[in-house]
């Protein structure tokens, strides 16, 4: 499954908005099967922040862990937010090196 974040808006800021976005999308996640990857596509997102990210991405991380793939993350606010989420949640996103466009979640040792 691919989640296109721009469908929630291009300015993704605020816990309240992040919570509402996840709550609205949650029913669609029922279609994800056990081994399916969940791809989050940041294409078209202009402003991305830790408050929205923690509510939305954080909930996806809790649910899917290593099955989560983050794509098109070259926007600077996306990169800065992912860095702080790594620190807060004590995790590492593994960058695959191809223009840093895909992040794979893995637990920090």
């Amino acid at each position: 499954m691919t989640i296109f974040l721009k469908k929630f808006g291009t300015t993704l800021s605020g816990r309240q908005f992040g919570r509402e976005s996840f709550a609205a999308f949650k029913p669609s996640l029922r279609n994800v099967k056990n081994k399916d990857k969940v791809v989050v596509d940041f294409e078209g997102v202009v402003t991305f922040t830790p408050s929205w990210g923690d509510e939305f991405l954080g909930s996806l991380l809790d649910k899917f862990g290593k099955r989560l793939i983050l794509k098109n993350t070259d926007n600077l606010s996306v990169q800065a937010t992912l860095k702080i989420l790594e620190k807060v949640r004590k995790i590492n996103f593994s960058r695959n090196g191809r223009n840093e466009v895909i992040y794979v979640y893995s637990k920090k040792i």
């Binding site: 605020g14 816990r15 408050s51 600077l76 606010s77 937010t81 702080i84």
Partner: protein, 245 residues
């Protein structure tokens, strides 16, 4: 065109200067009044006052400062006032759009809208249902001068952070903690760690920030490694910030 007239008292509250100062400005034509009789009361066109504020960011910052420091809680003027997070969200999108047109920022402009979003939403997230008097935030900017101002009359950092760190002693400790210490606990309330994000973005880019809460002030700029919150003489409840880029 808005031709409503304001009394000198109303104008004084809106701009945040004394009536005596307004009289002086009138005499020097800095901000002219209208009088129905030569010796009568001074009135000001609302449009003139709005234009004055728009063209004087130094005064906009003073206006925000007066608003948070004023013992009497008053709603700010509507064009600077975001009473709830949905109004703020709409104005943040407008700011983002205007920032994207500034060539000098290149692809860094989303970092500025992101830190503004974090500071503004921090005010809403930590004060929802607990605003001491006026709910919402003051939000204004002058992109030509590269300045953005946010303020709230909320509980302030110390009061909200104490719920997670009861040992915090004063506003300086609280301010330092908010900007430097990662808090990963989810209970009793969600913490965004948004101000750590703000600090990380500021120290890595051509941005500076002055952030005040209670009687503590923090100044951050590019490459700062040793942050220190200093004590100020005046004290207020809430937060006041000035971003320059």
């Amino acid at each position: 065109m808005n031709t409503r007239l304001l009394t000198i008292g109303q104008t004084s509250e809106i701009i945040g200067v004394s009536i005596q100062t307004l009289r002086r400005w009138d005499n020097s034509d800095k901000l002219s009044s209208i009088r129905k009789k030569e010796t009568g009361h001074r009135y000001y066109k609302e449009n003139d006052v709005e234009n004055y504020l728009k063209n004087n960011l130094k005064d906009l910052f003073r206006l925000a400062k007066n608003w948070v420091f004023n013992k009497k809680g008053l709603e700010p003027r509507s064009d600077f006032y975001c009473q709830d997070s949905s109004v703020f969200q709409a104005r943040l999108i407008k700011l983002e759009n205007e920032l994207s047109k500034l060539k000098r920022l290149g692809r860094t402009f989303p970092l500025i809208s992101a830190i503004v979003g974090e500071i503004g939403n921090n005010s809403f997230d930590h004060n929802l249902g607990n605003w001491p008097d006026i709910p919402g935030i003051f939000f204004s900017y002058d992109l030509k001068k590269g300045k953005i101002i946010l303020a709230d009359r909320g509980q302030g950092i110390l009061e909200t952070l104490k719920k997670i760190k009861p040992g915090l002693k004063n506003h300086q400790d609280a301010l330092y903690t908010a900007f430097t210490e990662i808090i990963s606990g989810r209970a009793p309330e969600h913490r965004g760690n948004g101000l750590k994000f703000v600090k990380d973005v500021v120290i890595s880019n051509e941005i500076s920030l002055i952030f005040q809460t209670g009687n503590a002030q923090l100044k951050i700029q590019k490459n700062d490694s040793d942050l220190r919150a200093r004590k100020t003489t005046a004290n207020f409840h809430g937060c006041l910030s000035l971003i320059r880029f």
